[in-house]
């Protein structure tokens, strides 16, 4: 795939998932993931999230994840968009779009990107409820999901064609 098949974007502005898929090439199979802020969590009601990140490393990390996906599977494109700053409940926080010739590759790569992002990309959520704010705890299930891909959190592997 061409180098511009991998695109990553980190932004404060809200986005509409409906306006993103058209930016992907129209290959045989397109899989997208959208994560929306839920209005409840294990800790209670959630009015908004504050997303802290590590500027510079964030973009590098997402680029490395997209490149690793294109190295593992035969993809036409892999795009990642992630918001930072304040995000209201109900708004989209992350969008991943993958295009491939075959659906198995598109599904696997999209899920891989999300699992890698959840364990390797330097974002931290703080939940704002009615009264208080609290840091979100990392979930063991995210680590075990990532391990399915034999990802190690220190495993910034060699970059693929987009790296």
């Amino acid at each position: 795939m061409s180098a511009d098949g991998c695109q990553v974007q980190v932004q404060e502005a809200a986005f509409n998932p409906d306006q993103l898929q058209c930016l992907l090439p129209a290959g045989g199979a397109v899989v997208t993931f959208t994560g929306n802020v839920r209005d409840v969590s294990a800790a209670g009601a959630v009015h908004a999230l504050q997303l802290e990140h590590y500027p510079g490393m964030t973009e590098r990390s997402l680029q490395a994840i997209a490149a690793e996906a294109t190295a593992r599977w035969s993809l036409r494109a892999a795009h990642i968009l992630h918001r930072v700053g304040r995000i209201e409940a109900g708004e989209a926080i992350v969008w991943v779009g993958v295009c491939a010739d075959h659906r198995g590759e598109a599904f696997a790569a999209c899920e891989f990107i999300m699992d890698a992002l959840k364990t390797r990309a330097p974002f931290w959520k703080k939940e704002h409820g009615a009264q208080d704010a609290r840091w979100v705890e990392a979930r063991d299930s995210d680590i075990s999901r990532a391990e399915r891909w034999q990802l190690t959190r220190t495993g910034d592997t060699g970059l693929g064609p987009c790296g």
Binding site: R60, L117, W124, A138
Partner: protein, 84 residues
Amino acid sequence: MMLKVRFFARLREQLACEVLELPCEPGLNTVAALRSALAARGPEWQHALEDQNLLMAVNQSLAEPATPLSAGDEVAFFPPVTGG
């Protein structure tokens, strides 16, 4: 030359510190050595940095305790990530 050390999220709040600049002394040659030196700054530092789940990065790539350090490196410590 110096080392730049950054802290994020809960750890940044616990330490009340976002960025430190440290002289790159001869003993600070791995991430683990830097972590030990930081923990010696006081009880709050010791408590916060003994968390076994903390992640570490050197020059914006995830690192391990044995990752070597050089003058000019940017090192970061942070809790497990929770994006997505």
